[in-house]
Protein backbone atom coordinates (compact mmCIF):
# COMPACT_ATOMS: atom_id res chain seq x y z
CA UNK A 1 0.00 0.00 0.00
CA UNK A 2 1.45 3.31 -0.99
CA UNK A 3 1.92 5.92 1.66
CA UNK A 4 2.31 8.65 -0.96
CA UNK A 5 -0.66 11.02 -1.14
CA UNK A 6 -2.31 11.39 -4.50
CA UNK A 7 -1.20 14.25 -6.72
CA UNK A 8 -4.47 16.09 -6.24
CA UNK A 9 -4.25 15.81 -2.48
CA UNK A 10 -0.65 16.95 -2.36
CA UNK A 11 -1.40 19.93 -4.57
CA UNK A 12 -4.37 20.93 -2.45
CA UNK A 13 -2.34 20.70 0.75
CA UNK A 14 0.65 22.61 -0.50
CA UNK A 15 -1.16 25.13 -2.67
CA UNK A 16 -1.93 25.46 -6.32
CA UNK A 17 0.54 25.01 -9.15
CA UNK A 18 1.84 27.78 -11.36
CA UNK A 19 -0.86 27.58 -14.01
CA UNK A 20 -3.91 27.59 -11.69
CA UNK A 21 -2.37 30.47 -9.74
CA UNK A 22 -1.76 32.42 -12.93
CA UNK A 23 -5.32 31.83 -14.12
CA UNK A 24 -6.73 32.80 -10.71
CA UNK A 25 -4.56 35.92 -10.65
CA UNK A 26 -5.90 37.05 -14.02
CA UNK A 27 -9.50 36.36 -12.97
CA UNK A 28 -9.02 38.18 -9.67
CA UNK A 29 -7.40 41.15 -11.39
CA UNK A 30 -10.29 41.39 -13.87
CA UNK A 31 -12.86 41.15 -11.12
CA UNK A 32 -11.11 43.72 -8.91
CA UNK A 33 -10.94 46.15 -11.83
CA UNK A 34 -14.67 45.57 -12.38
CA UNK A 35 -15.34 46.14 -8.69
CA UNK A 36 -13.42 49.39 -8.79
CA UNK A 37 -15.29 50.56 -11.86
CA UNK A 38 -18.69 49.77 -10.35
CA UNK A 39 -17.85 51.82 -7.27
CA UNK A 40 -16.47 54.71 -9.32
CA UNK A 41 -19.16 54.59 -11.98
CA UNK A 42 -22.27 53.99 -9.89
CA UNK A 43 -21.80 56.27 -6.94
CA UNK A 44 -22.79 59.56 -8.48
CA UNK A 45 -19.18 60.63 -8.23
CA UNK A 46 -19.12 62.30 -11.60
CA UNK A 47 -17.10 59.52 -13.18
CA UNK A 48 -15.93 60.11 -16.72
CA UNK A 49 -17.79 58.92 -19.79
CA UNK A 50 -14.89 56.57 -20.49
CA UNK A 51 -15.36 54.82 -17.14
CA UNK A 52 -19.04 54.39 -17.87
CA UNK A 53 -18.43 52.99 -21.33
CA UNK A 54 -15.73 50.56 -20.21
CA UNK A 55 -17.86 49.35 -17.32
CA UNK A 56 -20.98 49.12 -19.45
CA UNK A 57 -19.35 47.26 -22.33
CA UNK A 58 -16.92 44.95 -20.56
CA UNK A 59 -18.14 44.41 -17.02
CA UNK A 60 -21.86 45.07 -16.72
CA UNK A 61 -22.92 42.11 -18.90
CA UNK A 62 -21.63 39.64 -16.31
CA UNK A 63 -21.84 41.75 -13.15
CA UNK A 64 -25.45 42.90 -13.58
CA UNK A 65 -27.14 39.46 -13.75
CA UNK A 66 -25.31 38.40 -10.57
CA UNK A 67 -26.38 41.62 -8.78
CA UNK A 68 -22.74 42.61 -8.44
CA UNK A 69 -22.80 45.84 -10.47
CA UNK A 70 -23.08 47.85 -7.27
CA UNK A 71 -21.73 51.23 -6.31
CA UNK A 72 -22.15 50.49 -2.60
CA UNK A 73 -23.34 54.08 -2.48
CA UNK A 74 -24.75 54.04 1.05
CA UNK A 75 -24.84 57.63 2.29
CA UNK A 76 -27.57 56.59 4.78
CA UNK A 77 -28.88 60.14 4.54
CA UNK A 78 -28.03 63.47 2.98
CA UNK A 79 -30.51 65.21 5.28
CA UNK A 80 -32.68 66.07 2.29
CA UNK A 81 -36.38 65.87 1.68
CA UNK A 82 -35.91 62.76 -0.44
CA UNK A 83 -34.89 60.89 2.72
CA UNK A 84 -38.05 61.78 4.64
CA UNK A 85 -40.85 59.33 5.36
CA UNK A 86 -43.04 58.63 2.33
CA UNK A 87 -46.47 57.06 2.17
CA UNK A 88 -49.04 56.34 -0.51
CA UNK A 89 -52.63 57.57 -0.50
CA UNK A 90 -55.34 56.61 -2.98
CA UNK A 91 -58.98 57.38 -3.72
CA UNK A 92 -61.47 56.72 -6.48
CA UNK A 93 -61.35 59.70 -8.80
CA UNK A 94 -63.94 62.26 -7.73
CA UNK A 95 -63.91 61.29 -4.05
CA UNK A 96 -62.77 63.89 -1.61
CA UNK A 97 -61.36 61.58 1.03
CA UNK A 98 -57.95 60.01 0.64
CA UNK A 99 -57.39 56.47 1.92
CA UNK A 100 -54.11 55.06 3.18
CA UNK A 101 -52.51 53.01 0.45
CA UNK A 102 -50.73 49.68 0.86
CA UNK A 103 -47.65 49.52 3.04
CA UNK A 104 -48.64 52.30 5.42
CA UNK A 105 -48.91 50.28 8.61
CA UNK A 106 -45.65 48.38 8.24
CA UNK A 107 -42.51 48.51 10.34
CA UNK A 108 -38.87 47.43 10.37
CA UNK A 109 -37.15 46.16 7.20
CA UNK A 110 -40.53 45.68 5.54
CA UNK A 111 -41.33 49.37 5.95
CA UNK A 112 -37.90 50.22 4.58
CA UNK A 113 -38.75 48.37 1.34
CA UNK A 114 -41.98 50.37 0.95
CA UNK A 115 -39.99 53.56 1.49
CA UNK A 116 -37.56 52.57 -1.26
CA UNK A 117 -40.41 51.81 -3.63
CA UNK A 118 -42.07 55.19 -3.09
CA UNK A 119 -38.78 57.07 -3.30
CA UNK A 120 -38.11 55.27 -6.58
CA UNK A 121 -41.46 56.52 -7.90
CA UNK A 122 -40.55 60.10 -7.03
CA UNK A 123 -36.91 60.00 -8.13
CA UNK A 124 -37.68 58.23 -11.41
CA UNK A 125 -39.66 61.29 -12.50
CA UNK A 126 -36.27 62.90 -13.11
CA UNK A 127 -34.87 59.91 -15.00
CA UNK A 128 -35.45 59.87 -18.76
CA UNK A 129 -37.33 56.76 -19.85
CA UNK A 130 -38.60 55.95 -16.38
CA UNK A 131 -41.06 58.81 -15.83
CA UNK A 132 -44.46 57.50 -14.83
CA UNK A 133 -43.41 53.89 -15.30
CA UNK A 134 -43.87 52.71 -11.72
CA UNK A 135 -47.14 54.53 -10.93
CA UNK A 136 -48.61 53.25 -14.20
CA UNK A 137 -47.61 49.75 -13.11
CA UNK A 138 -49.53 50.24 -9.88
CA UNK A 139 -52.75 50.40 -11.93
CA UNK A 140 -54.19 46.91 -11.55
CA UNK A 141 -53.46 46.77 -7.84
CA UNK A 142 -54.91 50.21 -7.10
CA UNK A 143 -58.02 49.64 -9.22
CA UNK A 144 -58.70 46.52 -7.17
CA UNK A 145 -57.98 48.32 -3.89
CA UNK A 146 -60.33 51.21 -4.70
CA UNK A 147 -62.96 49.23 -6.59
CA UNK A 148 -62.75 51.69 -9.45
CA UNK A 149 -61.07 51.93 -12.85
CA UNK A 150 -60.32 55.59 -12.31
CA UNK A 151 -58.22 56.46 -9.28
CA UNK A 152 -56.12 59.26 -7.89
CA UNK A 153 -52.89 58.46 -6.14
CA UNK A 154 -50.48 60.67 -4.29
CA UNK A 155 -47.24 60.20 -2.43
CA UNK A 156 -46.95 62.20 0.76
CA UNK A 157 -43.82 63.04 2.68
CA UNK A 158 -43.41 64.23 6.22
CA UNK A 159 -40.73 66.97 6.12
CA UNK A 160 -38.00 66.65 8.72
CA UNK A 161 -38.25 68.52 12.00
CA UNK A 162 -35.39 70.81 12.97
CA UNK A 163 -33.19 69.69 15.85
CA UNK A 164 -34.72 72.00 18.43
CA UNK A 165 -37.25 71.90 21.24
CA UNK A 166 -40.18 71.68 21.13
CA UNK A 167 -39.98 69.07 18.39
CA UNK A 168 -42.35 70.14 15.64
CA UNK A 169 -43.06 68.07 12.55
CA UNK A 170 -44.09 70.29 9.62
CA UNK A 171 -47.33 69.47 7.82
CA UNK A 172 -47.12 66.58 5.32
CA UNK A 173 -46.63 67.56 1.71
CA UNK A 174 -47.82 65.79 -1.46
CA UNK A 175 -44.67 65.25 -3.48
CA UNK A 176 -46.28 63.32 -6.33
CA UNK A 177 -49.86 63.12 -7.49
CA UNK A 178 -51.47 61.54 -10.52
CA UNK A 179 -54.72 60.24 -11.90
CA UNK A 180 -54.69 56.72 -13.23
CA UNK A 181 -57.53 55.35 -15.32
CA UNK A 182 -58.27 52.43 -17.53
CA UNK A 183 -59.52 53.30 -20.99
CA UNK A 184 -62.13 51.29 -22.83
CA UNK A 185 -59.55 49.25 -24.73
CA UNK A 186 -57.91 48.20 -21.46
CA UNK A 187 -55.11 50.69 -21.94
CA UNK A 188 -53.91 52.60 -18.89
CA UNK A 189 -53.66 56.35 -18.87
CA UNK A 190 -51.56 58.23 -16.32
CA UNK A 191 -52.23 61.93 -15.91
CA UNK A 192 -49.67 63.51 -13.66
CA UNK A 193 -50.89 66.41 -11.54
CA UNK A 194 -48.27 69.12 -11.41
CA UNK A 195 -47.77 70.81 -8.09
CA UNK A 196 -48.88 74.41 -8.16
CA UNK A 197 -45.42 75.76 -7.45
CA UNK A 198 -44.09 74.03 -10.56
CA UNK A 199 -46.52 75.76 -12.91
CA UNK A 200 -45.46 79.13 -14.22
CA UNK A 201 -47.96 81.94 -13.50
CA UNK A 202 -50.19 83.02 -16.34
CA UNK A 203 -49.16 86.46 -17.47
CA UNK A 204 -51.87 88.57 -19.00
CA UNK A 205 -51.03 90.59 -22.13
CA UNK A 206 -51.12 93.73 -20.03
CA UNK A 207 -48.31 92.40 -17.83
CA UNK A 208 -50.33 91.68 -14.71
CA UNK A 209 -50.78 88.06 -13.67
Amino acid sequence: MSSEPTTATRTEQTGWGEVPRAVATVLLAVYLVGLGLTVVGNSGSGASLLVGVIKGRLFSPWLVPAWLDLGFDHPITYGQQADADHWLEVRPHGDTTWQAGPGVSTSGPRAARWQRLLRAVVSSEQEPGREGLLPAGFGTALFAACGSDDVDLRIMIRPRPERQLPLAFPEPVAIYQARLRQLSGGELQLIKTEARREVAPVVAPGGTP
Binding site: F72, I76, G79, R113, A120, G137, A144, Q164
Partner: protein, 303 residues
Protein backbone atom coordinates in the same frame (compact mmCIF):
# COMPACT_ATOMS: atom_id res chain seq x y z
CA UNK B 1 37.57 39.91 -3.25
CA UNK B 2 34.17 38.97 -4.48
CA UNK B 3 31.38 41.46 -4.93
CA UNK B 4 27.72 40.53 -4.69
CA UNK B 5 25.49 42.39 -7.14
CA UNK B 6 22.39 43.68 -5.38
CA UNK B 7 19.12 43.49 -7.33
CA UNK B 8 17.66 46.82 -8.42
CA UNK B 9 15.07 48.43 -6.12
CA UNK B 10 12.27 48.04 -8.67
CA UNK B 11 12.96 44.32 -8.90
CA UNK B 12 12.86 43.99 -5.11
CA UNK B 13 9.61 45.94 -4.96
CA UNK B 14 8.08 43.84 -7.73
CA UNK B 15 9.15 40.65 -5.99
CA UNK B 16 7.70 41.91 -2.70
CA UNK B 17 4.36 42.80 -4.30
CA UNK B 18 4.28 39.41 -5.98
CA UNK B 19 5.00 37.61 -2.72
CA UNK B 20 2.37 39.63 -0.87
CA UNK B 21 -0.18 38.85 -3.59
CA UNK B 22 0.70 35.14 -3.48
CA UNK B 23 0.55 35.01 0.31
CA UNK B 24 -2.76 36.92 0.43
CA UNK B 25 -4.62 34.88 -2.17
CA UNK B 26 -2.91 31.50 -2.43
CA UNK B 27 -1.84 30.38 1.05
CA UNK B 28 -4.00 27.38 1.98
CA UNK B 29 -6.34 28.29 4.84
CA UNK B 30 -8.54 26.47 7.30
CA UNK B 31 -12.24 26.63 6.47
CA UNK B 32 -13.72 26.99 9.97
CA UNK B 33 -14.06 30.78 9.59
CA UNK B 34 -15.99 30.24 6.36
CA UNK B 35 -18.35 27.90 8.16
CA UNK B 36 -19.18 30.77 10.52
CA UNK B 37 -19.81 33.07 7.54
CA UNK B 38 -22.01 30.40 5.94
CA UNK B 39 -24.18 30.12 9.05
CA UNK B 40 -24.42 33.92 9.26
CA UNK B 41 -25.25 34.30 5.56
CA UNK B 42 -27.96 31.65 5.73
CA UNK B 43 -29.51 33.31 8.76
CA UNK B 44 -29.32 36.77 7.19
CA UNK B 45 -30.93 35.33 4.07
CA UNK B 46 -33.83 34.01 6.11
CA UNK B 47 -34.23 37.42 7.79
CA UNK B 48 -34.14 39.17 4.43
CA UNK B 49 -36.71 36.75 3.01
CA UNK B 50 -38.87 37.55 6.04
CA UNK B 51 -38.96 41.20 5.00
CA UNK B 52 -40.35 40.17 1.60
CA UNK B 53 -42.81 37.50 2.69
CA UNK B 54 -45.76 39.60 3.88
CA UNK B 55 -45.88 41.67 0.68
CA UNK B 56 -44.76 39.06 -1.83
CA UNK B 57 -47.99 38.80 -3.82
CA UNK B 58 -48.79 42.45 -3.16
CA UNK B 59 -45.63 43.38 -5.06
CA UNK B 60 -44.98 40.56 -7.51
CA UNK B 61 -48.33 38.75 -7.84
CA UNK B 62 -50.51 38.88 -10.97
CA UNK B 63 -52.36 41.90 -9.52
CA UNK B 64 -49.36 43.29 -7.68
CA UNK B 65 -47.87 46.76 -7.72
CA UNK B 66 -44.85 45.66 -9.73
CA UNK B 67 -45.93 43.77 -12.85
CA UNK B 68 -43.17 41.97 -14.76
CA UNK B 69 -43.53 44.31 -17.77
CA UNK B 70 -43.08 47.39 -15.60
CA UNK B 71 -40.00 46.03 -13.84
CA UNK B 72 -38.51 44.76 -17.11
CA UNK B 73 -38.82 48.26 -18.55
CA UNK B 74 -37.36 49.81 -15.38
CA UNK B 75 -34.32 47.63 -14.75
CA UNK B 76 -31.12 47.23 -16.76
CA UNK B 77 -31.61 45.45 -20.10
CA UNK B 78 -28.88 43.03 -19.00
CA UNK B 79 -30.86 41.96 -15.93
CA UNK B 80 -33.28 39.08 -15.78
CA UNK B 81 -35.06 37.22 -13.03
CA UNK B 82 -36.18 33.63 -12.68
CA UNK B 83 -39.13 35.04 -10.71
CA UNK B 84 -40.41 36.67 -13.90
CA UNK B 85 -41.67 33.25 -14.94
CA UNK B 86 -43.84 32.90 -11.81
CA UNK B 87 -47.18 33.97 -13.27
CA UNK B 88 -49.43 32.74 -10.47
CA UNK B 89 -49.34 33.29 -6.71
CA UNK B 90 -48.75 29.57 -6.21
CA UNK B 91 -45.70 29.57 -8.49
CA UNK B 92 -44.41 32.74 -6.89
CA UNK B 93 -44.74 31.30 -3.41
CA UNK B 94 -43.17 28.01 -4.47
CA UNK B 95 -40.10 29.80 -5.83
CA UNK B 96 -39.90 32.02 -2.76
CA UNK B 97 -40.21 29.12 -0.30
CA UNK B 98 -37.57 27.25 -2.27
CA UNK B 99 -35.24 30.19 -1.87
CA UNK B 100 -35.94 30.32 1.88
CA UNK B 101 -35.24 26.58 2.11
CA UNK B 102 -31.93 27.14 0.33
CA UNK B 103 -30.99 29.72 2.95
CA UNK B 104 -32.02 27.28 5.68
CA UNK B 105 -29.91 24.51 4.11
CA UNK B 106 -27.02 26.92 3.83
CA UNK B 107 -27.28 27.75 7.53
CA UNK B 108 -27.24 24.09 8.56
CA UNK B 109 -24.72 23.16 5.86
CA UNK B 110 -26.32 20.46 3.74
CA UNK B 111 -25.03 19.99 0.19
CA UNK B 112 -23.19 23.24 0.78
CA UNK B 113 -21.37 23.77 -2.56
CA UNK B 114 -24.58 23.38 -4.60
CA UNK B 115 -26.86 25.08 -2.11
CA UNK B 116 -24.61 28.15 -1.83
CA UNK B 117 -24.54 28.58 -5.60
CA UNK B 118 -28.30 28.13 -5.93
CA UNK B 119 -28.95 30.54 -3.04
CA UNK B 120 -26.79 33.18 -4.73
CA UNK B 121 -28.63 32.72 -8.04
CA UNK B 122 -32.03 32.71 -6.32
CA UNK B 123 -31.29 35.81 -4.27
CA UNK B 124 -30.04 37.73 -7.32
CA UNK B 125 -33.20 36.66 -9.14
CA UNK B 126 -35.44 37.93 -6.35
CA UNK B 127 -33.62 41.28 -6.27
CA UNK B 128 -33.94 41.68 -10.04
CA UNK B 129 -37.68 41.00 -9.76
CA UNK B 130 -38.00 44.26 -7.80
CA UNK B 131 -34.72 46.19 -7.95
CA UNK B 132 -36.33 49.33 -6.56
CA UNK B 133 -37.05 47.48 -3.30
CA UNK B 134 -33.46 46.47 -2.68
CA UNK B 135 -31.35 48.20 -0.08
CA UNK B 136 -27.83 48.04 1.34
CA UNK B 137 -28.46 44.78 3.22
CA UNK B 138 -29.65 43.08 0.05
CA UNK B 139 -26.55 44.19 -1.85
CA UNK B 140 -24.26 42.94 0.90
CA UNK B 141 -26.05 39.61 1.15
CA UNK B 142 -25.65 39.06 -2.60
CA UNK B 143 -21.94 39.77 -2.34
CA UNK B 144 -21.61 37.49 0.71
CA UNK B 145 -23.29 34.63 -1.11
CA UNK B 146 -21.22 34.96 -4.29
CA UNK B 147 -18.02 35.17 -2.24
CA UNK B 148 -18.93 31.91 -0.51
CA UNK B 149 -19.46 30.04 -3.78
CA UNK B 150 -15.80 29.22 -4.56
CA UNK B 151 -15.03 28.46 -0.91
CA UNK B 152 -15.41 25.34 1.17
CA UNK B 153 -17.85 26.56 3.75
CA UNK B 154 -19.41 23.18 4.49
CA UNK B 155 -16.36 21.40 5.88
CA UNK B 156 -17.10 22.31 9.49
CA UNK B 157 -20.14 22.80 11.70
CA UNK B 158 -22.47 21.43 9.07
CA UNK B 159 -24.57 18.42 8.23
CA UNK B 160 -22.12 17.80 5.42
CA UNK B 161 -19.29 17.52 7.95
CA UNK B 162 -21.38 15.22 10.14
CA UNK B 163 -22.18 12.99 7.17
CA UNK B 164 -18.53 12.93 6.09
CA UNK B 165 -17.56 11.99 9.61
CA UNK B 166 -20.09 9.15 9.64
CA UNK B 167 -18.82 7.88 6.29
CA UNK B 168 -15.21 8.14 7.38
CA UNK B 169 -14.31 10.74 4.76
CA UNK B 170 -11.66 13.17 5.89
CA UNK B 171 -12.19 16.05 3.53
CA UNK B 172 -11.48 19.03 5.79
CA UNK B 173 -8.01 20.51 5.28
CA UNK B 174 -6.46 23.88 4.51
CA UNK B 175 -7.27 24.89 0.96
CA UNK B 176 -6.38 27.70 -1.41
CA UNK B 177 -10.05 28.07 -2.32
CA UNK B 178 -10.79 28.92 1.29
CA UNK B 179 -8.08 31.58 1.31
CA UNK B 180 -9.47 33.06 -1.91
CA UNK B 181 -12.90 33.34 -0.34
CA UNK B 182 -11.58 34.94 2.83
CA UNK B 183 -9.60 37.39 0.71
CA UNK B 184 -12.67 38.30 -1.32
CA UNK B 185 -14.68 38.87 1.86
CA UNK B 186 -11.96 41.16 3.20
CA UNK B 187 -11.71 43.15 -0.02
CA UNK B 188 -15.47 43.65 -0.22
CA UNK B 189 -15.81 44.61 3.44
CA UNK B 190 -13.18 47.30 3.00
CA UNK B 191 -14.65 48.54 -0.29
CA UNK B 192 -18.18 48.78 1.12
CA UNK B 193 -17.00 50.69 4.19
CA UNK B 194 -14.80 53.02 2.13
CA UNK B 195 -17.58 53.70 -0.39
CA UNK B 196 -20.00 54.45 2.46
CA UNK B 197 -17.52 56.95 3.92
CA UNK B 198 -17.07 58.71 0.57
CA UNK B 199 -20.83 58.83 0.03
CA UNK B 200 -21.40 60.30 3.49
CA UNK B 201 -18.65 62.87 3.17
CA UNK B 202 -20.37 64.27 0.06
CA UNK B 203 -23.13 65.63 2.29
CA UNK B 204 -22.86 68.32 4.94
CA UNK B 205 -24.86 66.44 7.54
CA UNK B 206 -22.13 63.94 8.36
CA UNK B 207 -19.59 66.75 8.69
CA UNK B 208 -21.70 68.95 10.96
CA UNK B 209 -22.88 66.10 13.15
CA UNK B 210 -26.58 66.09 12.23
CA UNK B 211 -26.48 62.97 10.04
CA UNK B 212 -27.82 60.69 12.73
CA UNK B 213 -30.51 63.23 13.60
CA UNK B 214 -31.92 63.08 10.08
CA UNK B 215 -31.83 59.28 10.17
CA UNK B 216 -33.56 59.14 13.55
CA UNK B 217 -36.41 61.40 12.50
CA UNK B 218 -37.44 58.82 9.90
CA UNK B 219 -40.11 56.69 11.53
CA UNK B 220 -40.44 54.09 8.79
CA UNK B 221 -38.08 51.19 9.37
CA UNK B 222 -36.77 52.64 12.62
CA UNK B 223 -36.17 50.11 15.40
CA UNK B 224 -35.21 52.51 18.21
CA UNK B 225 -36.28 56.11 18.73
CA UNK B 226 -33.31 58.27 19.66
CA UNK B 227 -34.89 61.66 19.01
CA UNK B 228 -35.18 62.43 22.74
CA UNK B 229 -31.51 61.82 23.68
CA UNK B 230 -30.29 63.48 20.48
CA UNK B 231 -32.40 66.54 21.18
CA UNK B 232 -31.20 66.69 24.75
CA UNK B 233 -27.52 66.61 23.86
CA UNK B 234 -26.00 68.17 20.80
CA UNK B 235 -22.67 66.60 21.75
CA UNK B 236 -24.19 63.12 21.73
CA UNK B 237 -25.66 63.69 18.26
CA UNK B 238 -22.34 64.98 16.92
CA UNK B 239 -20.42 62.19 18.61
CA UNK B 240 -22.59 59.44 17.19
CA UNK B 241 -22.83 60.93 13.69
CA UNK B 242 -19.14 61.59 13.33
CA UNK B 243 -18.32 58.39 15.22
CA UNK B 244 -20.10 56.34 12.54
CA UNK B 245 -18.04 57.98 9.79
CA UNK B 246 -14.84 57.62 11.80
CA UNK B 247 -15.55 53.95 12.43
CA UNK B 248 -16.18 53.24 8.76
CA UNK B 249 -12.97 55.01 7.79
CA UNK B 250 -10.98 53.25 10.51
CA UNK B 251 -12.38 49.89 9.46
CA UNK B 252 -11.63 50.39 5.76
CA UNK B 253 -7.99 51.19 6.51
CA UNK B 254 -7.09 49.19 9.62
CA UNK B 255 -8.43 45.90 8.27
CA UNK B 256 -5.35 45.75 5.99
CA UNK B 257 -2.62 45.89 8.63
CA UNK B 258 -1.59 42.85 10.63
CA UNK B 259 -1.21 44.61 14.00
CA UNK B 260 -4.72 46.11 13.81
CA UNK B 261 -6.60 43.60 11.69
CA UNK B 262 -7.76 41.22 14.39
CA UNK B 263 -8.74 43.98 16.83
CA UNK B 264 -10.72 45.84 14.17
CA UNK B 265 -12.42 42.64 13.00
CA UNK B 266 -13.41 41.70 16.55
CA UNK B 267 -14.69 45.21 17.19
CA UNK B 268 -16.59 45.06 13.91
CA UNK B 269 -18.65 42.10 15.04
CA UNK B 270 -20.18 44.37 17.68
CA UNK B 271 -19.83 47.77 16.04
CA UNK B 272 -21.44 47.03 12.66
CA UNK B 273 -24.71 45.69 14.14
CA UNK B 274 -24.82 48.71 16.47
CA UNK B 275 -24.34 51.07 13.53
CA UNK B 276 -27.03 49.15 11.67
CA UNK B 277 -29.38 49.58 14.59
CA UNK B 278 -28.71 53.32 14.81
CA UNK B 279 -29.23 53.94 11.11
CA UNK B 280 -32.33 51.72 10.81
CA UNK B 281 -30.51 49.14 8.66
CA UNK B 282 -30.07 46.29 11.16
CA UNK B 283 -29.65 43.53 8.57
CA UNK B 284 -26.98 45.58 6.80
CA UNK B 285 -25.12 45.86 10.10
CA UNK B 286 -25.25 42.12 10.66
CA UNK B 287 -24.16 41.43 7.08
CA UNK B 288 -21.17 43.75 7.50
CA UNK B 289 -20.25 41.90 10.68
CA UNK B 290 -20.45 38.60 8.79
CA UNK B 291 -17.84 39.83 6.29
CA UNK B 292 -15.32 40.27 9.08
CA UNK B 293 -15.87 36.97 10.93
CA UNK B 294 -12.93 35.17 9.26
CA UNK B 295 -10.52 37.89 10.39
CA UNK B 296 -11.44 37.80 14.06
CA UNK B 297 -9.30 34.78 14.81
CA UNK B 298 -12.13 33.25 16.83
CA UNK B 299 -12.73 30.42 14.42
CA UNK B 300 -9.20 29.41 13.51
CA UNK B 301 -8.11 25.80 13.96
CA UNK B 302 -6.32 25.02 17.22
CA UNK B 303 -2.56 24.87 16.73
Amino acid sequence: MSQTAEPPATEVAGCSIGQTWEAFWFTPADSRPLAAVRVAAGTIGLLACGSYAADLTGWFGPEGLLPVETVAAWRSPLAFSLFDACGSPAALWAAFVLLAILFGLSAIGLLTPIVTLLAAIGWSALLHRGPMLAGPADDCLAVLLWCLVPGTAGEHWSLDAWLHDRLGWDVARPRVRTRLTIGLLQVHAAVIAAAAVFAQLKGDVWWNGTGLWWVTTREAGRLIDLTGPLLASEYLCNLLSQGIVAWELCFAVAIWFTPTQRLVAQTAVVAWPLVGLLIAEPIWGVAMAAFTLPLTGWFSAAE
